[in-house]
Amino acid sequence: MGIIEVKKLTKQFKDAKAVKGISFSVEEGEIFGFLGPNGAGKSTTINILSTLITPTGGSAKINGFDIEKETDEVRKSIGLVFQDPSLDERLTAEENLIFHARLYGLKKKEYIKRIAEVLKLVDLTEKKDNLVKSFSGGMKRRLEIARGLTHYPRVLFLDEPTLGLDPQTRFNIWEYVLKLRKEHKMTIFMTTHYMQEAEYCDRIAIIDSGKIIALDTPAQLKRLVGKNSIEEVFLQLTGRKIREEEASTQEQFRNQIMAHRRR
């Protein structure tokens, strides 16, 4: 059984259905990419899995715990880095982490050691006594990743963790993520709009209008759809209007190559 098991999960809001019966399973130690255009249902799915909202149908288990019936166990099993910043800017970096650790029930002895570890992991040890207010966007993101790890979660949810960051910082953050998987066998569930980042994932699910329309390894997806990059695969599968345009230029391009070969 996977560390995340989702079965026919549905979320109906008052006026619209955001998630329409999705099912998937994530294995332990996997980096699982959850891609989709804006409004496809990514954040709704993350909010359901992280117990912030309840599904209207279907079920999901994380680390073997039911997201509706065993919320506290689920909450202990997951770490979250939200799409929007969620730090207390009037506290120092370390104070933010202590707040988190104490809410998750860690004892002082445990968390002093753990906080030193996670701060080191994201290279913020020297900044630990600075107010978060003074941090750059990238530093805040790193601190949020550190915070999400403080309570030893089994699954880390990253909702667009690199949004709005410069290429250097993005590269930086990916280094941490890959290190986490390699050294800690952490399962990572992430969404992103940067398609080149999706290439780092072990498997990718593409969600559109509340339904999963593709789920496979990046290599397999590219082969199936017949494209060279995840970006093209994504556009092929989701961007209907764009796809047509893309398809035609793609076709022209292919024709040119064929013509070239024939010559």
Binding site: F13, L52, T71, F82, D88, G105
Partner: protein
């Protein structure tokens, strides 16, 4: 105990943040002093001939303290809406802690801030010629705690419903100002029109003002005069405030448990 650790963690953050906000620390003194200086000095002479029986400044002083308690408690708790806007509330809500611990931590944080801040207003007592002894201070402090807890709880109910800070101006106009003015802080409710007396009964601040007035003025006022300007025995005020606080805390716990 994880529950207690969660409550103290949330409480500590509230207090720490307040302590770091110098502007707020200073500005909270401004309003009560303004009321005392302008209203107090302005109305003192015209009212001295009336049937109040006590000096107007002395009459108003306990009310101003109660209003100050309410203002700080209310603002501190309503900061939960800022937490929501800045995303920090999510961080709290995904943590494995009972929603009741979140509500209690928030309410107790605001209670601490409001009570300690209001205590400072007692420095003004000699200027208004109200003498206070340590016992009075202690009694007052108990009421500051009780009143600020009730108000924080009420404010949390509002914060659990209010999703953005946009409606805050409306809230002030329609809610906070009427509560200030209908509390008996500025004039005795005993001689107010009947409709006003009824409305003031559902206002928790009324009970706070009434208690503090009795505690502060009893040692230096003729009991006959005091009964004329106060509503009910202190123990009834305690009961009223406690019931109000309990109802509000329960509603906010229920609201924080709700999910979409």
């Amino acid at each position: 105990m994880h529950f207690i650790q969660a409550v103290t963690t949330i409480w500590e953050r509230e207090v720490k943040r307040y302590g770091r906000d110098r502007a707020r620390l200073v500005s909270t003194f401004f309003q009560p002093i303004m009321f005392l200086v302008i209203f107090g000095s302005g109305l003192r002479n015209p009212l001295s001939a009336g049937g109040l029986g006590v000096d107007y400044l002395k009459f108003m002083y306990p009310g101003i303290i109660a209003m100050n308690v309410m203002g700080i408690a209310f603002f501190s708790s309503i900061s939960t809406v800022w937490d929501r806007e800045f995303g920090f509330l999510k961080e709290i809500l995904v943590a494995p802690v009972p929603r009741s611990a979140i509500v209690l931590g928030k309410a107790l944080g605001a209670t601490t801030i409001a009570s300690v801040q209001a205590l400072v207003l007692l420095i003004l007592a000699p200027f208004i010629k109200v003498s206070i002894d340590p016992r009075t201070v202690f009694h007052l402090f108990v009421f500051m705690l009780l009143l600020s807890f009730a108000i924080s709880a009420m404010s949390l109910v509002i914060a659990s419903i209010m999703k953005t800070m946009e409606s805050f101006g409306v809230l002030m106009q329609l809610f906070i100002f009427p509560m200030f003015f209908l509390s008996g802080a500025f004039f005795p409710l005993t001689t107010a029109p009947h409709w006003m007396q009824i409305i003031s009964r559902i206002n928790p601040l009324t009970y706070g003002v009434d208690s503090m007035r009795q505690i502060l003025l009893a040692p230096q006022t003729d009991p006959a005069v005091l009964t004329k300007i106060t509503l009910q025995p202190i123990y009834l005020n305690v009961i009223s405030l406690a019931i109000f606080a309990m109802i509000m805390i329960s509603i906010s716990i229920v609201n924080f448990r709700k999910k979409d």
